[in-house]
Symmetry: D3
Subunit: 138 residues, 6 copies
């Protein structure tokens, strides 16, 4: 078993705001992340899949196809977007890095078979900033 990773990136706006709470409670809990006029980040996304290298290619997965899959299914839908307003799969969810990673997992677990019969999704690693990041293993 070998683990293969591809890094992609996207730039998006978001805010952290719980609609069940008052403006004051949101500001108390989320601080400047609750700014009503939004803020944003350059996100870095690392997708890791695992499997055996195919003897004919030496590949666990064709990284060009994995890159195209991530772009088509994820970064095209979030890049230069507002994660709270523009992204179907984040509707009615807190736009936290944790929740983004979980939704990215669901999408790629469903669509990875279109680019590989044998590779399995292993990890979604998502950097919100170079110093803050999350990892999700399903």
């Amino acid at each position: 078993m070998i683990f293969v990773s591809r890094q992609e990136h996207f730039n998006a706006a978001h805010k952290l705001f719980n609609p069940k709470w008052s403006k004051e409670k949101n500001e108390e809990v989320f601080g400047p992340c609750a700014n009503s006029n939004w803020h944003g980040h350059n996100f870095d996304l690392i997708v890791t899949v695992k499997g055996e290298p195919e003897p004919d290619t030496g590949f666990v997965v064709d990284l060009k196809k994995l890159s195209q899959l991530i772009r088509r299914e994820i970064t095209d839908k979030v890049d230069h977007k507002n994660l709270n307003l523009d992204v179907d799969f984040m509707k009615d969810k807190m736009a936290s890095t944790e929740n983004l990673a979980i939704e990215f997992w669901k999408i790629l677990e469903r669509t990875l078979p279109t680019v590989s019969d044998t590779a399995q999704l292993h990890c979604i690693k998502l950097y919100e900033t170079p110093r803050n990041f999350v990892e999700y293993y399903g």
Copy 2:
């Protein structure tokens, strides 16, 4: 003469949108950067000053004081903010990286004397993404 630099960072939302143009013209010129719901970035800001090292300290400028100046005058005003809506000195200006760098220069040229009698502002370098950046020398 020696050049001394300090890097700071901030996260902000913006869009590129010229109010004199139609929505269509804006989208044609700015592409996804014109997204009406905003997008955002992790900006990295490098401020360079120049001067002679003071004999008593070996410093051109006290970098802790330069860092505090940049935070107080710039990053506190743009971090977790919307550059088009929340930032006084960007009112009625296109929120391009170029224009941000020019405004940062004006602010720091005016306020640098509060932390050093002798150092002069030399360059504002601003990364919008790790691959796109501008430099301004006044």
Copy 3:
């Protein structure tokens, strides 16, 4: 279960020196790291915790609080310090990166409950240089 990480940094002096050994033996084993006049590093510290995102916030842990905890309990005690002479929890221990990581784990395992009821400490990753680093999982 999702894993959330925060990176902090500190600059410190140390040397590798076993008081049970002669100067010659120390120099033979530790090479230039045994230099009696010390040397130092910019350390990067990545703390990873794990848990379920809280529904109200989307957070496993509030990263601002985790950052404050790491600063208060660790980096304030080691930054701009001598790891052999100035740091209580390294007394009578070899100032190796391995031992530092183990001590950081003990401190954060004890104090993490002050910032989160549910998150558990998962990993301490400590870079001594960009090319040399250790990971400790308890």
Copy 4:
């Protein structure tokens, strides 16, 4: 148990080409990676070993010795080389990053005891580019 890592690097040429297939089939599967005149990369290699810190040194392994081992056994054999033509242990294998990592594992698992009685090999992480990398745990 603690995990200790050392990063080394090398620059090499390779191509992806399956001799059982036609030139056309190779180009269809491998795209520009099949270019008959070769292309190349700056590879970054991170070797992780695990064990208990020795009480006398605080070390799981002497990183200088681990670095020398990696250089002698691996990077001296692949740096400024053609991975398909010049490297014994890649003969008759696809020169994929996956296969390189597996061969590096075999070499280091066999030779690690020459620098440590107690440390065990844990992971080979190999970056072909900053955005494409593999991990192998044996």
Copy 5:
């Protein structure tokens, strides 16, 4: 006047070999860089242009267009190629980083007017490795 930069990358094979010299002389001068079976690198290319921001856009140059120009005129011609054998503009030249940067300058100086009436080429910065790089200002 403001300076705007865009970073692109490419992976290529090359060798340093002067056909006027013997194999021995080449190996003496160029060391492992003369390896007859080639070696290769991940090159990072930073192109800097200068000009005044246009009032309507706030841009010195549209970075998307500059990126497309660099890809079309340069990286499409060198990525996954052999710099000595496959690249027209390097024919009969030593494939050094210096000479590559000079040829890239000539190409972009000629073609930059297709994406901007006013911006001028300022610098070609080319990293052969993260530790070796050249800059050319025309």
Copy 6:
């Protein structure tokens, strides 16, 4: 004219302390950098030289020779050392990054002719931390 750069690194201890001042004055001016038990850094040093590429090699300077020169004349003398106590050329000088860069310039300006007849020293760039750095052009 083309500019060629080589990056090297070293790890060292230092403190900022002016012997003409009281302990209190030193602490007031230099803060934690005055810690009497020292602190330290991983320094990154970038040396830039300029010249015309030699027709026979395509090189402004042989970077392997430049690297060996920097190691022999500088990093061997400061790596794993105490900059205040162990380094001849820093005797009786404040161990600031500015002063280090100026001393490195003097050494390399004098010794560069031993590795190149034609290249001229252009810049010493010295990172004390990833966020604090100086540049000196003679």
